[in-house]
């Protein structure tokens, strides 16, 4: 029943992502005015519990969501299976979590 669990994980993570992405999109359209500026971004995020936890949640959800998604594509389009597929999925998850959380830390931690 692995596939059913992956399905559930992907749908649940998608549901978590939806509001976060919506927010992100809104922010992007809003913030792009006048160009992006590191100071502006960091001023908003540094030390903010709200932004910190939102981004952390985003990273966890997207890591789960995207690694399952990629797994599916690799299986269906490239025929990957077995240990290769498993290994890649875990690696993907770990990589995204690591890179994502590091980025969150970078913009949030004072």
């Amino acid at each position: 029943m692995l596939e059913m669990r992956l399905y559930l994980a992907q749908r649940i993570s998608a549901a978590i992502l939806a509001p976060l992405v919506l927010m992100h999109l809104g922010l992007m359209v809003y913030a792009i005015q006048g160009g992006l500026d590191a100071g502006e971004i960091l001023a908003r995020t540094r030390g903010s519990l709200f932004w910190g936890s939102s981004y952390a949640l985003f990273v966890i959800a997207v890591a789960v969501h995207a690694s399952i998604g990629l797994r599916k594509i690799l299986h269906e389009w490239l025929g990957w299976r077995g240990a290769l597929l498993h290994g890649f999925s875990w690696l993907c998850l770990a990589g995204l979590l690591f890179a994502g959380l590091r980025a969150v830390a970078a913009v949030v931690l004072p």
Partner: protein, 112 residues
């Protein structure tokens, strides 16, 4: 493209997949850029500066479109799977594409 694939809902599937794939490939890069701020604001800023280039702005618009269409397409799928069946799937898919397009347009207009 094979003929049996040329129907709106297959194209919607394909768009969802391609956008998801593109987003997933872009994600590590995105994280990398943000992580630059670990090395100080200037590093990030010098990078964000680069993003003033029109070409980059167009590329970013593309990303916004992909994110929006993947979001809306994903919502359509969640609804399809979890709500009572609706026969208006083609309409929903079309609405998703149109809305994503407008979001991206909004982004582009504000970017310049």
């Amino acid at each position: 493209m094979k003929a049996h694939r040329k129907q709106p809902l297959y194209l919607a599937f394909l768009l969802h997949r391609v956008s998801g794939l593109a987003l997933a490939l872009f994600l590590p890069f995105h994280f990398y850029v943000l992580a630059l701020s670990l090395q100080g604001n200037q590093k990030l800023d010098s990078f964000l500066h680069w993003s003033q280039l029109p070409l980059v702005k167009f590329a970013e618009t593309g990303l916004v479109f992909l994110l929006a269409i993947h979001l809306l397409g994903g919502l359509r799928l969640l609804a399809l799977e979890n709500l009572p069946w609706s026969n208006a799937q083609k309409n929903y898919a079309a609405i998703a594409v149109a809305s994503a397009f407008f979001v991206a347009l909004g982004f582009l207009l504000r970017a310049f």
